[in-house]
């Protein structure tokens, strides 16, 4: 696999050019060879006919060749002579002077005309044409009728050197091969230049991309002078950069938020210790300081766990373990942990849960969601206010509603409750328990389970969270949901 686009283009284009030229060259070669051989064969046949024409049958049946070396000197000359041999009857053989006492290979006496490539007596390569034909009698010339009755068949072979034909073809082959090779090389060079020019914008974009730094993602690749084929790529890259920039900015502000949110409880711990150590105190003061520190540490732990779980949900690493559960039981279990706190705050609690509420879902995730929603409702409801919990299954979906009175969040602010670290009016609520991550975690978990969370709020009125979950969740979609929530 060739990695370089330029090299790949070059190799493929050169191969194509070479193939075309090779086919063309081969075509030219075979066409030329065919016509040259045809000419050669025809010349040979003409010679054979000329030789045959000199043969004459006498009345006594003997055949005489009226062969004149001066008229056909090619059968006599020393250099590259032509040859003929005639077999009249098995015994009678007539040879051209050039043959001397050697023989041409005797062709089988079948067929009117055969061409054979042979080795000539001189040791050179040659071609032989052999033909059988009746010899004309003397009377033929005089116009007698009976010549056919006792005319005799003669087998004649004429051969010539093919050296010059072979040589010409060889030269043609060399010429074609040379031309084709040169053409391939030249086209390769031309292609290299053309391809080089064609990929230059890619190299420029590559340089631009190389110049991008994660520290400055506000840079965009220039679109106008990019070839139209590359424009979608550049535009997609710019889109990706925009998304990356937003994500990086979000991550940066998130990191700053995390630092801030961890520093404040840390400052509380350090200050509590410092103040505690300024003097000798009685035991109850130390116990109070320890209890307070423990509560702060617990908040930090909760925050870190929520952050970790959100990070895992965002990265699609949060495994979903599906089980058949009765959501009504889960609600009972989770609410049990808040009964005491709700009583202590003098809250009126209405619970209206349809039983059973059977779901195919991950009970651990549901537990976390319920815990957060109940915790918020009990903590943020006004003193002696009302908390309402209702759940049912309808139209194949599970609906849960957790509401509390005394909302301090206006309808305009509702979407912000999903922002990490956002807290509503903190003057009463920031006792160190809530870190502003609960609802954004719930939202991620709900999405992981293919569900959705909606919030409605009126200031000084109801704050309502609605959770909707599918009753049965196909596993395949869960993995997708995990990836999408990122």
């Amino acid at each position: 696999m060739i990695q370089s686009l330029r090299l790949r283009l070059l190799v493929h284009a050169s191969l194509a050019v070479a193939l075309i030229l090779a086919l063309w060259g081969a075509g030219v070669y075979y066409f030329t060879r065919h016509s040259l051989e045809k000419d050669f064969n025809e010349a040979l046949l003409t010679q054979a006919r000329a030789v045959a024409a000199t043969a004459e049958q006498h009345d006594d049946g003997s055949i005489i060749f009226d062969f004149d070396p001066l008229e056909m000197p090619q059968f006599v000359v020393k250099n590259h002579p032509d040859y003929f041999e005639a077999w009249i009857s098995p015994a009678t053989i007539l040879r051209s002077p050039s043959l001397g006492s050697s023989d041409l290979p005797r062709p089988p006496a079948v067929g009117p005309l055969t061409y054979t490539d042979i080795v000539l007596p001189s040791g050179k390569e040659g071609r032989m044409v052999a033909m059988a034909f009746p010899v004309a009698s003397e009377h033929d010339e005089a116009g007698h009728f009976f010549h056919q009755q006792n005319s005799r068949t003669m087998l004649l072979a004429v051969a010539a050197e093919t050296h010059s034909l072979r040589h010409t073809l060889e030269q043609l082959r060399w010429l074609l091969e040379g031309l084709c090779s040169a053409a391939v090389v030249v086209s390769g060079i031309v292609l290299m230049l053309v391809v080089g020019r064609a990929v230059r914008p890619i190299e420029r974009i590559a340089r631009d991309i190389d110049g991008l730094r994660e520290s400055d993602l506000s840079v965009r690749l220039a679109v106008p002078d990019v070839p139209s084929e590359l424009r979608p790529v550049v535009e997609k890259l710019n889109g990706l950069l925009t998304r990356l920039e937003t994500a990086f900015a979000r991550e940066r502000s998130f990191t700053a938020d995390v630092a801030h949110e961890l520093r404040t409880p840390l400052a509380a711990l350090v200050t509590t210790f410092d103040v505690c150590r300024t003097r000798q105190r009685d035991e109850s003061a130390y116990i109070a300081a320890i209890d307070k520190s423990r509560q702060v540490a617990q908040r930090m732990q909760g925050m870190i766990e929520a952050l970790l779980m959100m990070a895992r949900a965002d990265a699609g690493q949060l495994a979903v373990k599906l089980q058949s559960v009765d959501a009504a039981d889960l609600i009972d279990d989770c609410w049990a942990m808040f009964v005491h706190q709700a009583d202590a705050r003098g809250l009126v609690v209405h619970i209206n849960v349809q039983r059973p509420a059977l779901l195919e879902t991950d009970p651990e995730k549901i537990r976390i969601i319920l815990h957060n929603l109940f915790d918020n409702a009990v903590a943020y409801a006004n003193d002696a206010g009302t908390v309402r919990i209702s759940a049912d299954v309808s139209e194949g979906r599970f609906h849960l509603e957790v509401a509390n009175t005394g909302s301090r969040i206006s309808p305009e602010e509702v979407q912000r409750v999903f922002d990490r670290f956002w807290r509503g009016d903190e003057s009463r609520a920031n006792t160190g328990v809530h870190c502003g991550l609960g609802l954004s975690l719930c939202q991620r978990l709900a999405r992981l389970l293919n569900g959705e969370i909606e919030i409605h709020s009126e200031k000084m009125d109801w704050f309502t969270v609605r959770l909707t979950l599918p009753v049965g969740t196909p596993t395949g979609q869960i993995a997708m949901a995990g990836a999408i929530s990122a």
Partner: protein, 226 residues
């Protein structure tokens, strides 16, 4: 000296208030910007310890508002925001000091003392009136080289009078600078403490230092008021 602690995170606020009260300051507290503005409207706090990320009204808005109102209070920003930009921004808006969370409580105390010295234009940490020395760092006082055994309240009252050396301070000034907002303002509490302080400071053979100006208040001086 009276301080205002503005911090929304309850455990931190509680510890700060406790530590500062134990260090002898009168401390008021607020958990959001709006309450902070309400508390500080009188300008009676010597130092305001102010968080930036606050509900309702954020700390920088509180800071800007106080500076627009020409509040005499000095403001120390105590925040988790630690970048140079945050510090520059806070100081440019009129903060007098900046401390990043988490911090060492002793450093906060030292910075508060430095701010108070600045407010009362005292270069030295030891204030001198005749042969009376008030050491604001170690928070104790001596007369003629002999240490005085003062309670926290008595010391705070003396330090306040010493910072305002030669100036008449009214009972309500004393009330506002030395006592917590939560303490009940009984009319004669200030007089009682002045009496207790006098007993410890004034000694036979030495000049009177705490003077009463009837109908106006008290002043600490070798001679008469300036």
């Amino acid at each position: 000296m009276r301080l205002l602690v503005v911090e929304d995170f309850q455990p931190l606020r509680e510890s700060l208030v406790q530590g500062l009260r134990e260090a002898g300051y009168a401390v008021d507290e607020a958990s959001d910007g709006q309450t902070a503005l309400w508390h500080s409207r009188s300008g009676e706090h010597d130092v305001i310890i102010l968080d930036i990320m606050l509900p309702v009204v954020d700390g920088l808005t509180v800071l800007r508002t106080l500076r627009e109102q020409r509040s005499p209070s000095l403001i120390l920003l105590l925040t988790a925001k630690d970048t140079a930009e945050d510090k520059i921004n806070g100081l440019d808006l009129g903060a007098d000091d900046y401390l990043v969370k988490p911090f060492v409580f002793a450093e906060l105390l030292a910075r508060i003392k430095a701010l108070i010295r600045r407010k009362y234009e005292a270069r030295s940490t030891v204030l001198r009136i005749s042969d009376l020395e008030v050491d604001t760092t170690r928070r104790f006082a001596r007369r003629s080289g002999k240490a005085l055994d003062l309670s926290g309240r008595e010391y705070a009252l003396l330090e306040y009078l010493a910072h305002n050396k030669g100036k008449i301070v009214s009972r309500s000034d004393i009330w506002q600078h030395v006592y917590d907002f939560n303490a009940s303002p009984e009319s004669n509490v200030v007089d009682v403490y002045i009496g207790l302080l006098r007993k410890k400071i004034e000694q036979p053979g030495l000049p009177r230092l705490i003077h009463t100006r009837r109908g106006q208040g008290y002043f600490l001086s070798e001679g008469g008021p300036e």
